[in-house]
């Protein structure tokens, strides 16, 4: 056993990393539904889930149990093989794309090995291309689900989804080209490092400033690719019942749901990495006191959760919430006491913060914007986004060419 572990250390580490990432992502997904329901509810002057557990914190658990135990009928005349394949495909592809995301710059030294955060090795030369390859396949899950259900509404949902994804795929890919030109690489790590050329510029060194057009095109196209509001025509509930997953119940429906939320996380990761400096801090590198920011956020937040929990209505809430708050505040305090760990989590801290911001924007848009009409959707994709992203590529290339020719450094 010992020799197996030492000879196949890399394999073992990868498998453990995959299991860990799966666990984290699925948990985050579950709480993302809670977060979304809460935020949208508060935007609409409602309370959102608050019956199961304090502040409805155990709602995702109840939902999960419901998904597992619900009856799972297969519609008559459905193409069985494709019907079962579709949710599997959607979920597998969504989860695979996360494997290519690097979550931090530095390795953890454990058992004599350097363990990097993220499953794929950091030097995947075609990182972003591989990601696009996986997302390009993602449309099949939705399209095949719609077709195989042998039902009218899902078929319409599947058709819409295929058309939408083809239209926005182009803008999505073109919008990234500007960033790739500036970094000169497909490698996600190099793209982040290219944004740290001037360590003292901090937030102003990020790609989002020169590539503001590209970012706009990318984010809009990515929201469309993930079928989220305002581009959720494939599952427009007011016209298509539930769109492509109308005939799916129980855990097969949950698989589509998890796939959608995982894609949201992937898109948020990509936005953060390509346009917002990934794991780079927004402050100049010489401001070392900003390293205490994670603690400065965690400790007050933990104390607030304790204070809030003390006055909660239910007994369980008065136990669970202060416990949770103590854990959060304790983590913040531990970071002050362990400078090594604190330094290590700077990268992941900033990346995760940025991802959270984008996830909030996703939910914010869902709570705010009405759905596009179909012809508006097509016109927006083809007549606005695509020309804009192409113009962005041309302008960026000329600026880079001019710099190379007349040599501003």
């Amino acid at each position: 056993m010992k020799s197996f572990l030492t000879t196949n250390a890399e394999l073992v580490i990868t498998v453990v990393k995959i299991a860990l990432l799966l666990f984290i992502v699925l948990t985050v997904n579950a709480y993302l539904t809670w977060f979304e329901r809460k935020v949208v509810a508060h935007m609409q002057s409602r309370w959102g889930p608050h019956r199961v557990g304090p502040h409805g914190l155990l709602q995702p658990l109840a939902d999960g149990v419901k998904f597992l135990f619900k009856e799972d009928p297969t519609p008559a005349g459905a193409d069985k093989f494709v019907y079962y394949l579709a949710p599997l495909l959607a979920l597998a592809l969504a989860l695979t794309s996360l494997a290519l995301i690097p979550f931090g710059p530095d390795p953890i030294h454990l058992f004599g090995q350097d363990i990097y955060l993220g499953i794929a090795p950091l030097d995947v030369n075609i990182g972003i291309l591989a990601l696009f390859a996986i997302t390009a396949m993602g449309v099949y899950g939705v399209a095949l689900a719609g077709w195989s259900s042998n039902s009218k509404y899902p078929l319409l949902g599947g058709l819409r989804s295929s058309a939408q994804m083809i239209s926005y795929e182009l803008a999505l890919t073109m919008s990234v080209v500007g960033v790739l030109l500036m970094a000169g690489s497909f490698n996600l790590k190099k793209i982040i490092e290219a944004q740290a050329h001037h360590p003292e510029w901090g937030i102003f060194g990020w790609n989002v400033w020169p590539q503001i057009l590209g970012f706009f095109c990318f984010f809009v196209a990515a929201v469309a690719e993930t079928n989220r509001v305002p581009f959720d025509l494939p599952e427009a509930e007011s016209e298509l019942v539930a769109g492509f997953h109308t005939e799916y119940a129980s855990f097969k429906f949950a698989m589509f749901f998890i796939a959608e939320y995982t894609s949201m996380i992937t898109v948020s990761c990509l936005c953060a990495i390509m346009f917002f400096g990934g794991w780079l801090s927004p402050f100049p590198a010489s401001w070392t006191f900003t390293h205490y920011l994670p603690s400065a956020i965690l400790i007050p937040f933990g104390l607030w959760v304790i204070w809030d929990g003390m006055r909660y209505e239910t007994i369980s809430g008065r136990i669970i919430l202060p416990g949770l708050g103590t854990a959060i505040a304790g983590a913040g305090a531990a970071l002050i006491l362990l400078p090594g760990v604190n330094l290590f989590i700077q990268g992941p801290f900033w990346l995760l913060s940025k991802i959270l911001v984008f996830l909030f924007v996703y939910v914010w848009m869902r709570g705010t914007l009405p759905r596009f009409r179909y012809d508006q959707l097509m016109a927006f994709g083809w007549k606005l986004l695509l020309p804009l992203s192409i113009a962005n590529v041309i302008v960026t290339s000329f600026v880079i060419l001019a710099r190379m020719t007349w040599g501003a450094k």
């Binding site: 093989f81 291309l129 390009a136 396949m137 399209a143 095949l144 077709w147 058709l159 083809i166």
Partner: protein, 171 residues
């Protein structure tokens, strides 16, 4: 076979087998959607083979362009037309005899080529130039820039033709 089974060789046989099974299934499936799915399997297996050759860029583009864009269009059109299960006609039987002959001829040709140039084929596996994106862009935009631009012009003509055909007649 006097060659030992290295890991890349095993992966090659798995991918090649997958490609062949997908291709045969593409022909034998009765439903157009199943055929399209089989073709996607072939495309992905081919991308895997490119990856095995060290051509990362080509592999990714193969999946994005063929596996993604083009096959999605296929599936889209099949779904849009709601094409049902195909019926076998007698014409396919007539095509059988010359088809079999052609298959044998093609297989013989491929086998002969492989048998004659085993060493040179194995020698080309080490392609450092093609593996990098830089190498490919150098080839496309320096060495073969005119054929490349002409091809894109050809595609432009096809796009224009399709637009003209699809246009509604003005009344």
């Amino acid at each position: 076979m006097g060659r030992e089974m290295t890991a890349p060789l095993v992966v090659f046989f798995v991918l090649a087998g997958l490609a062949v099974i997908g291709a045969v299934s593409l022909i034998l499936q009765k439903h157009p959607i199943h055929s399209a799915l089989s073709l996607i399997v072939v495309m992905i297996a081919l991308a895997g083979l490119y990856l095995l050759l060290g051509a990362e860029f080509v592999a990714a583009v193969q999946i994005i362009v063929y596996g993604g864009a083009i096959m999605v269009l296929f599936v889209f059109v099949i779904m849009l037309l709601n094409a049902g299960v195909e019926e076998h006609t007698s014409i396919s039987k007539m095509a059988g005899a010359p088809g079999l002959l052609l298959v044998v001829a093609l297989a013989g040709l491929v086998a002969a080529t492989i048998a004659r140039s085993t060493d040179s084929i194995q020698g080309t596996i080490e392609t450092g130039e093609m593996s990098s994106t830089l190498g490919i862009s150098n080839m496309i935009f320096k060495e073969f820039v005119y054929p490349f631009e002409l091809t894109s012009f050809l595609i432009l003509v096809a796009v224009l033709g399709a637009t003209v055909l699809a246009q509604r007649e003005k009344s």
